[in-house]
């Protein structure tokens, strides 16, 4: 009677650090775990911000250059606009009772999803594992990523 096949796996690559770019990866992983699908997320480049202790509570939303932004790009580039957009978005999310990014990471960790940081990006941004949130399992290379994602569907966000 089970509607899901066994041994399904997803590997999600999170390469952007915006608030609006963090949630899709986190929610997809969470939904996978809830559906009995093994999930792990590979955080690389700007995506590292999502799992960096000092940044996770302060992710912003970039409106400039976003054709869906409710304002002209010229205005969206003004100073403080991304903070404003992030505040608005957080307000909306709270109305929907969405967990914060930090809570999402904790929920994912508890649900058994595995979080990995990209070694090369870590070197580029001069970060070490001590700068990351505790839920990150390991710092791995792209090669390790392919080993881990063997048999998994890969989602790039």
């Amino acid at each position: 009677m089970s509607t899901h096949s066994t041994n399904r796996r997803v590997a999600i690559i999170a390469s952007h650090g915006g608030l609006d770019e963090a949630y899709p990866a986190l929610i997809l992983a969470n939904a996978a775990r809830q559906s009995g699908i093994e999930a792990f997320i590979f955080f690389t480049f700007w995506g590292l911000d999502i799992i960096t202790e000092s940044k996770v509570d302060h992710l912003h939303v970039n409106m400039a250059g976003n054709p869906s932004a409710p304002m002209p790009t010229m205005l969206a580039g003004l100073p403080g606009m991304e903070s404003l957009a992030a505040t608005m978005m957080k307000k909306q999310m709270e109305e929907l009772e969405l967990p914060t990014v930090r809570e999402m990471l904790q929920i994912l960790h508890e649900s058994g999803a595995e979080l990995y940081a990209c070694e090369l990006a870590m070197k580029m941004f001069k970060r070490e594992q001590k700068h990351l949130v505790a839920q990150v399992k390991d710092v791995i290379t792209a090669g390790d990523f392919y080993d881990l994602s063997d048999g998994a569907q890969i989602i790039f966000t």
């Binding site: 009677m1 509570d57 505040t87 999310m93 969405l98 809570e103 508890e110």
Partner: protein, 333 residues
């Protein structure tokens, strides 16, 4: 009787002469003193009168009042400061004097006087908008002035940081307190980040779980959609209808015995902890008409996400809802 000898007489005469000369000198000196006094007294009188007038003038101008006030200030300073303060001030005097010297250098004073000239002619300045500001930045002097101001700001900021460090234990707490002060309670409502962080992970233990849903359970999240009545029946099992997704079509048909059978089909060995969650889910469904998702269950029961995954390892939300005879959990959390 012996007649005086002529040389004795001569000696006596000489002495007498000397004496008279001395007398003359004394008389002369006395006369000079008197003359001096006669000459001086009008001058002295004039001087004293003049001095009195001067002092009176000073008094009128307020010099003495100023002096008296200064004394009062001195007294107040003595009252207000302890010897320790003065000793500390002594340590700072050199740097204060150095600052004063630096501030009173001719170049600095010229800058200040130039600046004050600008302020005096303020009424002649043309109003400038944001584009005027941008245009003004082409001016080399403005550029240099901006560089000086930026450097000044950097120093002020550094000093402020030092003061702050010496005061606050946690810079983050200080920042939050400051923001809260500015924005009031509004911030806590508008920003989701103010909610307490999730508890640290603990070891897996299917420990006994409080079976009662807390009466103060939060309202259902807006992203969760209430169920729209019984689903169309696709298959039946023991006379009970099931929907296309494998969930019980009508939640009201659920019995404990059916739950046991469904759990067996799902491959879950039910314990008290499992039943507590199932009961909580059913009660929440009764109250809200919405099939609870995992996040909702953690909020309602207080059981951690980790424990729920430990009890129902495979797709906990779906499995639990199937065993409890509820529709597919609402929302994507």
């Amino acid at each position: 009787m012996e007649t005086p000898r002529s040389d004795d007489l001569a000696a006596l005469h000489a002495r007498f002469d000397a004496l008279s000369a001395q007398m003359n000198l004394l008389v002369e000196r006395q006369r000079k003193t008197e003359e001096f006094l006669d000459e001086m007294s009008p001058i002295l009188k004039a001087a004293v009168t003049s001095a009195a007038t001067r002092l009176d003038g000073l008094e009128k101008k307020g010099y003495f009042a100023f002096g008296r006030e200064l004394l009062g200030v001195g007294e107040r300073v003595v009252e207000g400061f302890s010897p320790d303060d003065v000793r500390q001030l002594g340590g700072a005097v050199v740097s204060i004097l150095e600052t004063v010297r630096a501030l009173t250098q001719p170049e600095v004073l010229r800058v200040a006087s130039d600046a004050s000239e600008v302020l005096q002619n303020a009424e002649r300045a043309e109003p400038v908008g944001i584009f005027g500001m941008v245009r003004a930045t082409n001016d080399r002097d403005v550029q240099r002035g901006m560089a000086v101001m930026l450097e000044l700001m950097r120093h002020v900021g550094r000093a402020a940081a030092i003061v702050k460090e010496s005061r606050a234990a946690s810079p983050l707490a200080d920042k939050r307190a400051k923001l809260d002060g500015i924005l009031g309670a509004k911030r806590a409502r508008t920003l989701g980040v103010e909610r307490p962080a999730a508890p640290a992970p603990t070891a897996i233990a299917p420990k006994p779980i409080a079976p009662v849903a807390s009466p103060s359970a939060p309202p259902v999240a807006a992203c969760a959609v209430p169920t729209k009545g019984p689903a169309p029946v696709v298959t039946t099992l023991d006379g009970v209808g099931f929907g296309a997704d494998g969930h019980l079509a009508d939640a009201s048909q659920w019995t404990r015995a059916l739950g046991e059978k469904l759990a067996e089909l799902q491959g879950v060995a039910m314990t008290d902890a499992h039943w507590a969650l199932v009961d909580a889910a059913r009660r929440d469904f009764e109250a809200t008409k919405t099939s609870p998702n995992i996040r909702r269950l953690t909020q309602v029961t207080g059981v951690s996400t980790k424990d729920i995954y430990a009890l129902f390892p495979k797709a906990p939300g779906r499995t639990l809802a199937k065993v409890a005879g509820l529709p597919k959990p609402a929302g994507c959390l």
